[in-house]
């Protein structure tokens, strides 16, 4: 006991006995052995409390009729049965999927094209262009949404003014299914195009210059070089960005909440642009149906698992195809 107290003192008094030194060494080596666990502990601790436990607990809450300030009544799978027959859920699923397609496809195509243009050693002001395409990424979603809502406004929006100049009727974007989806997709695409451009550019720069030079000596034009050299080299990162944007697409919330401020939590009277995450929020924090909201969370989890599995299969196939 005494020896232990002494060894805790960092400065061993001169003339310490051999036993004390041995004890100190044991403690020292124990500390060294435990150090790695201490270094990774913050992550595992925080993940356990704010990640893993909430995930598992979502499955549990989903089995209850759970009023946050009232009582919790066990209802078994009732929430899931109701969910499967709930047109609001399927509507939100449709909206989420539609917004995802409308934003991802043009976004990734444009990013591919811009990355190809930026991947030019003789390009002047290259740093400027790389930086400027990243500006949307640092702009907050809330601010972006408010500006876009104004640009798409029925009466005073810049876009409708332009349509009128061209002789078209004003479009009430927020009121229709396609209009509201296009508007939200535009916000998402604006935010992420530059970011994906830089990811593609990084992959393109890893392709040896000589490949392009050889192709151009053989008479391949720019499009052929893009098609035959750039695209195959980019395939893994394309899969990655598709997966990221799918997971991101499932989480679209702020745009749907702020784009149509008069629409409330349902993003319009017909729920025309309510996404899955907004539906979850509405049920849990707008109507205090925590159990039902958790069931939506479980549904989201199932979709994420399916997407990740598809991603894994695609990724392994790509690895096999590589020489």
């Amino acid at each position: 006991m005494t020896a232990l107290t002494l060894t805790l003192n960092p400065v061993t008094p001169p003339g310490a006995t051999g036993r004390q030194t041995a004890n100190r060494r044991i403690l020292q080596s124990m500390r060294e052995r435990l150090a790695p666990y201490a270094y990774i502990a913050p992550f595992f601790l925080l993940f356990a409390v704010f990640g893993l436990f909430p995930l598992l607990f979502t499955f549990y809450v989903a089995l209850f009729d759970w009023d946050p300030i009232g009582e919790h009544r066990y209802v078994g799978l009732q929430n899931f049965r109701v969910l499967m027959d709930d047109p609001r859920f399927w509507g939100a699923m449709r909206n989420t999927f539609s917004i995802w397609v409308l934003s991802t496809v043009p976004q990734l195509l444009v990013a591919l094209g811009i990355a190809h243009l930026l991947n030019n050693v003789r390009l002047r002001a290259a740093t400027f262009f790389r930086m400027v395409v990243l500006v949307p990424y640092v702009t907050s979603v809330a601010a972006t949404t408010i500006v876009f809502a104004q640009l798409f406004d029925r009466d005073y929006g810049l876009l409708n003014w332009f349509l009128e100049l061209l002789g078209f009727q004003h479009i009430e974007f927020t009121a229709s299914v396609w209009g509201s989806h296009l508007m939200i997709a535009a916000m998402v695409a604006w935010r992420w195009t530059g970011y994906n451009t830089l990811l593609y550019l990084a992959s393109l720069q890893a392709v040896p210059r000589e490949l392009y030079e050889a192709a151009s000596v053989d008479g391949a034009n720019g499009w052929q070089q893009f098609r035959r050299i750039s695209i195959p080299a980019l395939r893994p990162i394309i899969v990655f960005t598709v997966v990221t944007s799918t997971i991101g697409g499932l989480q679209i919330f702020t745009e749907a909440l702020l784009a149509n401020p008069s629409g409330g939590l349902s993003c319009g009277a017909a729920r025309q642009c309510q996404t899955l995450t907004l539906f979850l929020y509405e049920q849990a924090f707008g109507r205090f149906h925590f159990g039902y909201g958790a069931a939506v969370g479980v549904a989201l989890f199932v979709i994420v698992v399916i997407v990740s599995t598809i991603n894994y299969l695609l990724a392994t196939r790509i690895r096999w195809e590589r020489p």
């Binding site: 150090a35 270094y39 704010f50 893993l52 607990f57 500006v135 702009t139 979850l280």
Partner: protein, 275 residues
Amino acid sequence: MKAPNRTPRTTYVLLGIMALLSVFPLYWMFVVATTDTASATQLPPRVLPGGNFLHLAGLVFDTVPFLQALLNSIAVAAAVGAGQATLCALAGFAFAKLRFPGRNTLFLIVVLTMTVPAQLSIIPQYLIMSQLNWVDTLQAVIVPGLVSAFGIFWMRQHIASVIDDELMHAATVDGASTWQIFWRIAFPLVRPAAFVLGLFGFVTAWNDFLWPFIVLKSPDRYTVQIAIKALQNNRDIDLGLAMSGSFLATLPLLVLFILVGRRLVQGIMDGAFKG
């Protein structure tokens, strides 16, 4: 004979259009933020900023506790950025350079956690926060973001490539403890990478909306993003107000971007993307 050394003019035209599209919404935000509502809704729209910025900015500060919101956002984003930079470096160091039983399994778990988005478990997260009595406090937005699986993954790669085993061995022989090796040798060497990671943490935390929106209730706890939402509730009264708020909330990040945007670009191109 073609001149292969010239970049085609169409390249610059297309890139120019892209650059314009990237900054136009921000410019438009500024235009509306400097004019009164009447001219914000005039057609044809005005193209140049007006002189009303200070007036509207003043109104923003009067309508919501915007100064407090700015301070809250700075506190949250700085804490998250600093936490990410140090805690991810520490864990990344352990996974890259230290040997301990279970290392590979634990690292696999870290990687696997990256695929599950946190959004789907917001209900239990909220229940936990209310158990901890953290609802309506800033630590509810700070603590869960202090360390991330992606950050650990990224720092591990950097540390593995920058610090070689001989250096580790020499330091150990000289009697340095693991902590000393990390703090005196490893961290200074990977400080640039940790800085970029911290920047991403800062930007993400600054722009985060859903979780702060759920957990911060009273106006003097709002971050700027939630303050903008509160301004938008007055949208019918004054559109310029919401736009001013949006502009003011974006301005600090734009300044930061002008100062260190180059490193963000480099970070993304080096693989510092968020999973």
